[in-house]
């Protein structure tokens, strides 16, 4: 990790392509794609890649937020519940209260961000371990999501909302995938070139040293959890568009998928090393794997085993690499 204060133009470009420890997962992803291309007729097609892009949208956006949290050495177990809460707020504001979609989306994002801010404050001000604080938030947000409609679903969004997830502009880009790509680019730029982005690595490396170096660790931590929750909320809005309905039972165990994607992408659970590019590869590995196993008609039970094995492989490879260094 070289600080990016004033690199030459060339180094800047080189940095763009550096995968910071994600080369292993990238090779795995390419091998996986190659295997699936030979094993099935339907994998290697433009249409299928568009499907995969659709399918990873929610996970991709949540995993970016999770990357920030894990980079500072934290963990966020509440993202799946926060996603459900944002969806229910969206549905309530738009369908039940009949407010314009823009207001409903803003409301959903604010509700999500508030959850993250509360988790962040619990962690920094009250010194509750991140695992416990976000575990509590997972339960609270899920309960709130259920309370909004007493557990039932909401349907009846305007027709264009679902079309945003279905219509492929210019032949390939759905609105939801476009949002994901924007989030990816902003997150990469932020981590690489912004001072605040670099400070996440410092906090994850050693919070005390970061504090002595003049970084406001507490404020940054609260902001990171807030952004992570905000992104979960955004993912919830996109999921609502994809499903054309909202239900409080959405997003159960999504936090585990997000953590798995981050870990497969080479980000260390102890904080300080990792990258959004790695996470994107991790998300793609999970997305391609699920898609490929479906195309191969692998039994759902076997699929669960295979995905577990891939997580083990990814982490074992990373550990092995560190040991041989």
């Amino acid at each position: 990790m070289t600080p990016s204060t004033g690199p030459t133009e060339r180094a800047r470009i080189a940095e763009w392509f550096s995968l910071s420890g994600a080369t292993g997962p990238l090779i795995g992803l390419l091998l996986l794609c190659a295997f699936l291309s030979f094993a099935t007729d339907s994998f290697l097609s433009f249409r299928n890649f568009l499907n995969i892009a659709d399918q990873i949208t929610v996970l991709g956006i949540m995993a970016v937020g999770m990357t920030f949290v894990i980079l500072i050495g934290g963990i966020d177990l509440s993202v799946g519940s926060v996603l459900a809460l944002a969806m229910m707020v969206l549905g309530y504001l738009n369908v039940v209260a009949e407010l314009p979609m823009a207001v409903a989306i803003a409301g959903a994002l604010v509700a999500a961000a508030l959850c993250g801010a509360v988790s962040g404050l619990l962690i920094t001000v009250f010194a509750v371990p991140a695992f416990i604080a976000t575990l509590a938030m997972m339960s609270i947000a899920r309960g709130l999501a259920n309370m909004i409609t007493d557990g039932s679903q909401i349907i009846g969004f305007p027709a264009w909302f679902n079309m945003g997830a279905i219509i492929r502009n210019f032949g390939f880009l759905t609105m939801t995938v476009a949002v994901m790509l924007v989030v990816f680019v902003l997150a990469i730029l932020f981590l690489r070139f912004r001072e605040e982005g670099r400070s996440l690595y410092a906090i994850g490396g050693n919070a005390e040293v970061a504090r002595l170096a003049g970084i406001d660790v507490k404020l940054t931590t609260v902001m990171v959890y807030t952004v992570c929750a905000l992104l979960s909320g955004l993912a919830g809005v996109l999921l609502a568009a994809r499903l054309d309905s909202v239900q409080p039972s959405s997003g159960v165990a999504y936090e585990l998928d997000a953590i798995a994607a981050v870990v497969i992408g080479g980000t260390s659970l102890s904080g300080g090393t990792g990258s959004v590019v790695g996470t994107i590869i991790g998300v793609l590995v999970i997305g391609v794997l699920r898609n490929g196993l479906n195309l191969l008609s692998v039994s759902p039970f076997v699929q669960a085993v295979v995905i577990g094995l891939v997580i083990v492989l990814a982490v074992a490879a990373e550990t092995f690499k560190h040991r041989t260094r």
């Binding site: 339907s42 499907n51 679903q153 499903l243 309905s245």
Partner: protein, 314 residues
């Protein structure tokens, strides 16, 4: 009962093939996509077995996917099914919100959409096949209340709130409760997953709050069997009668043994639903008419007649 079922099946099969007599193979259907919410639940597993067994006889390939109760996963899986060029789509929506999107996706491909168990609001398939709930639940509760002598304190353990079977099974059971003024409904609670561990926990709490309960209706066999365990743990096995619903494999075997307070259920014709779904798919693909709704009855199952269903699930 068996003969009625069999004639029902034969009639549907005839209707299905009437329009396809001259078509090649099985009416141009060689690959069927089947989206199942959750294979952990025996009910859905039985439907899948029904579809697969019958399709295999006809030489049709079935690709089944399991959404693990997650609507978003199911939408992704349906995209993948369509990529594989399925000729018909049997759709059992996952989660309380039956998503309309899979139906729209399949419609865009112009293939038949057969809904089983529930159908999404605003985007119905070509036909929907679901088990009758109201009358069958009425029969289960009626049997229970009869065994309890027409009076006593009763509790209901509901399934996932807001789902069609949850609403309708309660509707049916409520009819009996209202007919029997001696029966008092003292508590109801909703489960998330229709699972035995939830049934156990909910029943235990209910027994704690109302130690004089004598009738329990669990809206699924899992819930009822969990409740039966809780009643046994509380040492009240002789004072309580429990009814379930669905006729799961494990539940039927428990009824055959007849050694728990769980003594009655309604066995759904799950495998028959799978067969109906395949027939409907073939019929729709060949422009034969199918009824908008096909509603096979569930069969009241007690300790006496459970054995025949263990032998062959309807």
């Amino acid at each position: 009962m068996k003969t009625i079922l069999r004639s029902l099946l034969a009639a549907t099969a005839l209707a299905a093939f009437a329009g396809t007599a001259s078509a090649e193979g099985v009416g141009g259907i060689s690959k069927i996509g089947l989206a199942v919410p959750n294979l952990q639940a025996d009910f859905f597993n039985q439907i899948k077995l029904g579809v697969e067994g019958y399709a295999a006889k006809l030489g049709i390939e079935v690709i089944a996917v399991d959404a693990k109760n997650d609507t978003a996963t199911q939408v992704s899986q349906v995209q993948d099914l369509l990529t594989q060029g399925i000729d018909a789509f049997i759709y059992i929506p996952a989660g309380a919100a039956a998503a309309a999107v899979p139906t729209r996706l399949a419609r865009a491909e112009g293939i038949p959409v057969i809904n089983v168990d529930r159908e999404p609001d605003g985007a119905p398939g070509d036909t929907v096949i679901y088990g009758e709930n109201v009358m069958s639940a009425y029969q289960v509760c009626d049997h229970l209340i009869g065994l309890a002598g027409g009076e006593g304190k009763m509790v209901v353990i509901h399934g996932q709130k807001g789902t069609t079977p949850e609403v309708q099974r309660f509707e049916g059971c409520k009819m009996t409760i209202d007919e029997n003024p001696g029966v008092e409904l003292v508590a109801q609670q909703w489960s998330q997953q229709w699972s035995p561990d939830e049934g156990f926990q909910i029943a235990q709490n209910m027994l704690q709050a109302n130690p004089d309960i004598s009738i329990i209706f669990g809206q699924a066999d899992g819930l009822a069997m969990g409740a039966a365990k809780a009643v046994e743990v509380a040492g009240m096995a002789d004072d309580v009668v429990i009814g379930g619903y669905d006729g799961d494999g494990a539940a039927l075997e428990s009824l055959v043994a007849c050694d728990t307070p769980f003594i009655v259920t309604a066995t759904q014709s799950t495998q028959a639903m799978g067969v109906l779904a395949v027939n409907a798919a073939i019929a729709v693909a060949n422009d034969a008419s199918v009824p908008a709704r096909q509603i096979p009855n569930a069969v009241l199952t007690t300790c006496e007649n459970a054995a025949q269903f263990v032998e062959k699930h309807p």
